[in-house]
Symmetry: C2
Subunit: 201 residues, 2 copies
DNA sequence: GTCTATATCCAGATAGAC
DNA sequence: GTCTATCTGGATATAGAC
């Protein structure tokens, strides 16, 4: 006979409210920009007075931090959910497309996760582990495609470049993102040329 | 006999003060970040009270706009001052290095010029022409290297990617910028491969 | 042109009643 | 947990004396 573990209904409700607040915060930053987030509008959006938010988060920075964690978890989840591709080059292409899509579909989130733009905000150590895991997955992907880890920075550089140009100069379009596959091709060709020496090591 | 044109000493002084204010503003944003600019600190830095700034600029946005123009003029000047390089590929490499250097040496300026991050700020039409001229110069550079204009976006995408990654994740270092030449090589190899068809048009 | 004084508004955060 | 009331400090901008 299976005994249901006793649930802490109060704690559950609390977590649900926190999640609701974060959802509202995401909506606000998507609509008004990352820096425009303020507790007045946020409280109004969830039907509270501003001080009540402090029952759930210690500060505005704590809200940013929670959002930072959520964003990283979302990206990690997507990478882990990616269907296995036995062709390593195809996998690299897949991973690049995923990152570009993730970036442009929510510029405010991309700004929070990948640029240093909010004065005084440092992500907590907990979140840092998730970010590290994402990097590891990326490097793994390269390695399986026969590319040495040193090339990871080069890869992030050129792929994220498309994202930022797209966000800043053609929001909603595809003037830059349409080059994802080209960029991967370029990258692979370049790396293969230079790998010749490294391979025989 | 050369007659000196009559100078408007009052206007000259005024322009000098405006320039002084802008210099102070650049110092502030370099030190505290682009979004942290405020009239209180700016006035203090030039030995004024905040309201006095309104004798020189109509609004804070007007100050951002003047900075935007200055930044673009500086970039344009650097491109025009570039020594002529008879090797077109070398010229492309030169132009890429210049852009990367310009970006990383002042992240706040790069943010102002190339990202959309200040809420409500739109550069004035006057400035837009300078930005357009810069783009034209870049395309000219590509053309002389035998590369068709359609590749300009791809080039800006990958080169600016290095800049942003460098600024956001390794300020002051060269973890990404050291790949400038690699990126140009990649780009050229990729473009030449695809140009084969286009050339014979 | 520069100042003082002020208007207006907004922010994040806290105290304490209920 | 949520509220009202308040603190404290900040912002941009304007009025008007000098």
């Amino acid at each position: 006979m299976v005994v249901e573990p006793i649930r802490d209904r109060r704690a559950e409700r609390r977590e649900a409210t926190k999640a609701e607040i974060l959802d509202a915060a995401w909506e606000l930053v998507r609509a008004e920009g990352l820096a425009a987030l303020n507790l007045r509008d946020l409280a109004a959006k969830v039907g509270m007075r501003p001080p009540s938010l402090y029952s759930y988060f210690d500060s505005k920075h704590a809200i940013y931090d929670a959002m930072f964690l959520q964003g990283n978890l979302e990206l990690l989840a997507r990478y882990e959910a990616l269907p296995v591709c036995d062709d390593p080059v195809g996998a690299l292409r897949q991973g690049s497309r995923l990152f570009v899509q993730f970036g442009i579909e929510d510029p405010a989130r991309a700004q929070l996760l990948f640029m240093r733009t909010i004065p005084g905000f440092e992500p907590s150590a907990e979140t840092y582990d998730v970010a590290k895991r994402i990097v590891e997955l990326g490097i793994e992907r390269l390695t399986r495609a026969g590319i040495r880890p040193e090339y990871f920075d080069l890869w992030t550089g050129i792929v994220s470049g498309l994202v930022w140009q797209q966000i800043a100069n053609d929001a909603g379009g595809d003037r830059w993102t349409k080059y994802v596959d080209d960029v991967v091709d370029m990258f692979l060709a370049h790396v293969n040329k230079h790998n010749k020496r490294g391979r025989s090591k």
